[in-house]
């Protein structure tokens, strides 16, 4: 009797040990996969940064090696080849205008649809939802013709006004506003506030997380956009960073190619810095898409 108990205890201990080692093994494999994934994701950025510190011939001849010596030439020279401050200025002006207008307009419209008295409310709402499915390629040529006729080619506003609002952003805000309790608004109304004050003093402060989402989406979309600047910008004093990089790539001789890599680091850096500060908002912004 006693022996059977000890043997079964031994058995279960043995099993536990086996389970434990299987668990550890599984964990090693899982973390191994995650680590390999991280290396694949990060390597291109590592490659970019390494190249920005190399010299031209080294980039072409020793793609696997680390830089022989840290060379800042790319970073200093690229300021002579490109008007970097101007490019940043253009891009920031355009991207921040797009951001401000999108945040303002989409919250206004969504607020009206959810909380205000609007004629043909359901119809308007349905049209907004349906508009999300329109592929932008359908509008590419006609919008270009319009802008051409309006003489908007090679201006800032051509990259701002046509993207100052999007059905998708309104949809995100509608989802947010439906969660807000009417009682807050009623309280403000009883206090005698008019609709505009309620909107700016009560609604917008409550909507900050949602506004951050819209803001990030709009800013990133504008900062990283390539097709619209390609279509609409003509002179290099108006260029945005993305289009300048593309043109620069075709113009720079191979021996000075480190300048291109330095420029690419400079272009990516601001967004990465913002990302690390607002990580949670970023991840939410790209995924808070009505999947509840």
């Amino acid at each position: 009797m006693a022996t059977t108990i000890t043997s079964s205890e031994n058995n279960s201990r043995h099993l536990n040990n086996k389970n434990k080692s299987i668990k550890i093994l599984v964990n090693i494999i899982l973390y191994g996969i995650l680590l390999i994934g991280s290396i694949i994701v990060l390597y291109p950025f590592f490659f970019m940064i390494m190249n920005s510190f190399k010299v031209g011939p080294e980039i072409m001849n020793a793609p696997l090696a680390l830089p022989k010596s840290i060379n800042f030439g790319g970073y200093t020279e690229v300021f002579n080849s490109l008007n970097i401050p101007r490019l940043f200025f253009n891009t920031i002006v355009i991207a921040s205008s797009v951001t401000v207008l999108n945040v303002l307009f989409s919250s206004m419209v969504a607020y009206a649809i959810v909380k205000q008295d609007v004629p043909y409310k359901r119809l308007t709402r349905n049209i907004i939802l349906a508009s999300m499915m329109i592929p932008s390629v359908l509008l590419l040529i006609p919008t270009y013709t319009m802008m051409f006729n309006w003489n908007w080619i090679n201006t800032y506003r051509v990259l701002i006004i046509p993207v100052s609002l999007s059905a998708y952003n309104i949809f995100l805000m509608i989802q947010f506003f439906t969660q807000i309790d009417d009682a807050y608004l009623e309280a403000a109304r009883i206090d005698g506030a008019n609709e505009f004050t309620i909107f700016t003093k009560v609604v917008l402060p409550m909507a900050k997380p949602a506004l951050a989402t819209i803001g990030i989406l709009a800013f990133m979309g504008s900062w990283n956009d390539f097709l619209n600047p390609l279509l609409y910008l003509r002179s290099d004093t108006k260029f945005t960073l993305q289009i300048a990089i593309f043109k620069f790539r075709n113009a720079i001789p191979g021996v000075h190619i480190e300048q291109l890599w330095a420029a690419m680091v400079l272009v990516s850096l601001p967004v990465v810095i913002i990302y690390f500060f607002m990580q949670k908002n970023f991840i939410k912004a790209f995924t808070g898409v009505g999947l509840k």
């Binding site: 964990n27 973390y31 996969i33 995650l34 994934g37 991280s38 694949i40 994701v41 990060l42 390597y43 291109p44 950025f45 490659f47 970019m48 793609p63 307009f105 206004m108 419209v109 607020y111 009206a112 205000q116 008295d117 609007v118 049209i127 907004i128 508009s131 499915m133 592929p135 932008s136 390629v137 359908l138 509008l139 590419l140 040529i141 006609p142 270009y144 013709t145 319009m146 609002l165 609709e195 505009f196 900062w223 990283n224 390539f226 097709l227 390609l230 993305q242 990089i245 593309f246 690419m264 990516s268 967004v271 990302y275 990580q279 970023f282 991840i283 790209f286 995924t287 898409v289 999947l291």
Partner: protein
């Protein structure tokens, strides 16, 4: 009294909704009608006053244009690889990240970085990395996996799969996080019950987890189709307007760009845009139907 209040409320409502009305009329409805109108015109951008009505000529031209269908084939080829690859990568990583106990947020942060990088920068880096003098091919050469450098951009079949690999690298992060959100919503008891019943994990995955993730899968697929079929920058950056010697990287939007802005044939370009929009619409509907049937 209440009547006055109502009209004032309505007045504010109209003011607040007016940005959408203006945007919709000027930047959506009007250009859309213009697209249809242009598709029946022979119209040159520089001399729009000389536009002539040509009936279905543009439609027939595009429908019988070998290059247009080549571009359609290319994007289908590219997207079927991209959608499959990105799905497997993002779902596997989402499953792993919901299983592990520590460090999940660090990996999520890392995996999301390609998302915030621009296509221009990402594609330029990728071009160098994958070139015959780049690190990947150098390693393959040193190990004798390939006998000489592969100039993949000028080959017949390689551009689309290789761009699909780039796109998977760029976009898997968002899909992964959407799947993680879906996995978090699955009732743990259901999975535990399956385990007690002796269901293997692979069985549980296909019989329980994936069916329960359907809303997320539908969303990801719809977004992939709408965005992926409009691919432009990825190919424009690294190829000529014809998509290389075999047109193997020509996408419909690049073909539209070439027709509209190089050949100045706005009518034909508009027709390409409409046809592509129709294809995208049909594919999203078909995809919706298929996933509904499997319910």
């Amino acid at each position: 009294m209440s009547k006055i209040k109502l009209t004032s409320k309505r007045k504010w409502g109209i003011i607040f909704v007016s940005p959408w009305i203006i945007y919709f009329l000027v930047f959506l409805a009007y250009p859309m009608s213009l697209a249809f109108k242009n598709s029946f015109l022979k119209i040159n951008l520089i001399q729009p006053e000389k536009a002539t009505f040509v009936g279905f000529e543009n439609w027939i031209k595009v429908a019988t244009d070998g290059l247009f269908w080549k571009s359609m084939f290319n994007i289908l080829y590219n997207q079927s690889i991209f959608i499959g690859l990105a799905f497997i990568i993002s779902l596997s990583l989402a499953l792993i990240l919901t299983k592990i106990k520590f460090g999940g947020s660090i990996f999520r942060t890392i995996y999301f970085i390609p998302m915030i990088t621009s296509v221009v920068v990402g594609m330029l880096i990728f071009d160098y990395i994958s070139s015959p003098t780049g690190p990947i091919q150098q390693i393959m050469l040193q190990n004798g996996w390939i006998s000489e450098g592969v100039f993949w951009k000028t080959t017949k079949w390689l551009p689309m799969p290789i761009i699909a690999i780039f796109s998977s690298w760029k976009w898997f992060g968002i899909q992964m996080i959407i799947f993680i959100g879906g996995l978090a919503g699955i009732d743990k008891q259901v999975l535990e019950a399956a385990e007690i019943d002796g269901s293997s994990w692979i069985n549980t995955l296909f019989a329980i987890t994936i069916p329960l993730l359907k809303p997320q899968i539908v969303f990801v697929m719809t977004m992939n189709i709408i965005n992926g079929f409009q691919m432009f920058t990825e190919v424009f950056i690294n190829f000529d307007l014809l998509g290389g010697p075999y047109n193997s990287a020509l996408t419909p939007v690049m073909y539209l760009y070439q027709k509209g802005f190089q050949n100045m044939q706005m009518g034909e370009a508009s027709t390409i845009g409409i046809l592509l929009a129709i294809v995208i619409f049909i594919l999203t509907k078909v995809q919706d139907k298929i996933l509904k049937v499997t319910e």
